[in-house]
Amino acid sequence: MKIVLENLTKIFPSRNKKSNDEVIAVNNFNFEIPDGKLIGLLGPSGCGKSTTLYMISGLQKPTGGKIYFGEDDVTELSTENRGIGLVFQNYALYPHMTVKQNILFPLQNLKGADKMTKEAMLERAYEVAKLVQIETLMDRKPSELSGGQQQRVAIARALVKMPRVLLLDEPLSNLDARLRLQTREEIRRIQKETGITTIFVTHDQEEAMSISDMIVVMKLGVMQQIGAPQDVYDSPANLFVAKFLGTPPINVFEGRVQGGKLFIGDAAVMDVNSVEDQDVHVGIRPEGFIVDENGPLVCNVSNVEVMGRDVSVVSTHENSENPIIRSIINADERMNVAAETVRYTLKPHKVFLFSKETEERIYF
């Protein structure tokens, strides 16, 4: 089922009645989440991504705007009646119930026509437990489980009543690095198997990029960009999105466009014919550098990290906005590791220009 957010706004009133410092957590969101997809809400802390999730869940009331599940306006509908599954950041498993009781709990709440027999409930619970691979842990208490297992129980509890929408709030933040990799693939697998429209919130761009069908990048309550992860990475709408996505992060230089050429410092590094003369931010992805003896961009090498498959060159440049420039070079290129300077030419499709004032993308 698709989800549509229409002018969704959330304003938290100021705590002090005299001052007027209300917080606009979510500012006029408009987007549509297609049916059966996995969507990542992505942004730094305080960007309103969790607030958006909780408004979709109904646990928080929007200040303005509308939320649709399919064709139904659910804005005024209470959480109980929305038919959602929600996995909390710290799972909120009922500590006094066993795994089985936790998973059965939502089913026991069903009323009227949805009411199930005990056998049917147990069968469903075991079905879901199998899906998340915890069927051997059913008689344990949450405190006897590892973080990853608890997380899977939380997903099972959210899935067992076949929700129309599954919401996950920073589902991987409590897991260690290894488990995180494993679990995020698990989430992807479960989502694909069930086909439930799933929205998850994260501040980890790698996590969002790796498993989402679509990502929504947010900053300070304002949506920056929405699209498939690769599209957003390849074509960021503004400097913030460019900086936020990608590890290692994008390299940003101060530059200017003059007579159809892009200058970094005094070096004309690229032709940008269609752009008017102006000062710009130049974003270059780490993989956008080609080592070239005659290349126009000269950087001082401070370190070369050999990683087998790739070589990561750490260098500096006086016009770089970051303290270091990191480029990733294919190890086959056999660069001189001992050299003091390195010369690059740039791959045009890995170079983005942003307006100096608005930080919006300048296309060329």
């Binding site: 646990l59 929600l86 500590p95």
Partner: protein, 319 residues
């Protein structure tokens, strides 16, 4: 750990408390045990120079043999069994209600806590007046009858003005169960504030996310209370029940508050006596040996009941 060379400092700081506890708590307890096993012990005899008493268990036998002992034990147990569950359930419901309202919460908390800071004898007198039948006063020509607020209320609700329908709650000729009813109402009312306070504190420390999760799971209100709130509150509930039973077995001032030192209505003094009342009675008659024996018996009962409580609560409370 404290550095060994510095430990004398720790002892120094603890000394005032330890000395006071030794003098006023530990020594009297030891002395109580000793006295309970002394035949014919009396403070007067001791003061009169009799230094040694023979040892035996006759004090215990005499205490248990008294007809008032059985009555007191029955009263004490009845009061405990009736008041602790009633007050706990009421306190739970009030605490949950208080926790769920937003406006007036602080003000209402104060109101519910007021009985705790009020003298229980004073409250007892108010309750006695409420349940009292003061009867007829005034001259022969002008008789004013008063039957207590509660009887007035009953008359108001039932609409039956016949004085014969009034219940004699605590006065001369009143029924035992009427007396017991008044005591239960009074003790429950008196016990509520502390329990509400503890349970409210417990409620406020429950992670709100469990309730959000319950909402997402479409849990009906009653199930939220019985399946989430009560289990998560169970350590607090166990605490309230255990201290409630201990306090209940030591019930005394409430009886004095309602019935005065007679410990019962005028026609049956001592009928509402409790274990602690029995101990005081023995002391008044200068039978310290018997009083000590009664105190030890009470201690034994409380110990056993508390152990049962702990055993049950260990099985029933979570984490």
């Amino acid at each position: 750990m404290v550095d060994n060379r510095q430990q004398w400092k720790a002892w120094l700081y603890l000394a005032p408390a330890i000395v006071l506890l030794l003098i006023f708590t530990v020594w009297p307890i030891i002395n109580t045990v000793v006295m309970s096993f002394m035949e014919g012990y009396s403070g007067l005899l001791k003061a009169g120079g009799q230094a040694s008493f023979s040892i035996g268990v006759n004090n215990f036998a005499r205490v248990i043999g008294q007809p008032t002992f059985q009555q007191s034990l029955k009263n004490t147990i009845l009061l405990c069994v009736l008041t602790v569950p009633i007050s706990t359930v009421l306190a739970l419901l009030i605490a949950v209600a208080l926790n769920s309202i937003k406006v007036f919460q602080k003000g209402l908390q104060t109101v519910f806590f007021l009985p705790y800071v009020t003298n229980s004898i004073a409250i007892g007198m108010v309750f006695a007046a409420m349940f009292n039948i003061i009867g007829n006063i005034g001259t022969r020509r002008e008789v004013i009858s008063s039957y207590g607020v509660i009887n007035d209320l009953i008359r108001f609700i039932s609409g039956n003005p016949n004085p014969k329908n009034y219940i004699n709650w605590i006065n001369n000729g009143s029924d035992y169960w009427a007396n017991m009813f008044v005591m239960v109402v009074y003790i429950v009312w008196n016990a509520l504030p502390f329990k509400i306070l503890v349970l409210l504190g417990g409620l406020q420390s429950i992670n709100k996310q469990y309730y959000d999760a319950a909402k997402v799971d479409s849990t009906p209100r009653w199930r939220v209370l019985t399946r989430i709130t009560v289990p998560l509150l169970s350590p607090m509930l166990a605490y309230v029940v255990i201290t409630g039973f201990i306090g209940g077995f030591k019930e005394y001032t409430s009886i004095v508050g309602i019935f005065g030192e007679n410990m019962g209505p005028a026609h049956a003094p001592g009928r509402m006596n409790t274990m602690v009342g029995l101990i005081y009675d023995s002391l008044e008659q200068n039978k310290q040996g018997e009083a000590s024996a009664a105190a030890l018996i009470l201690f034994g009962i409380i110990l056993v009941v508390t152990m049962i409580n702990l055993w049950v609560s260990k099985k029933k409370t979570h984490y």
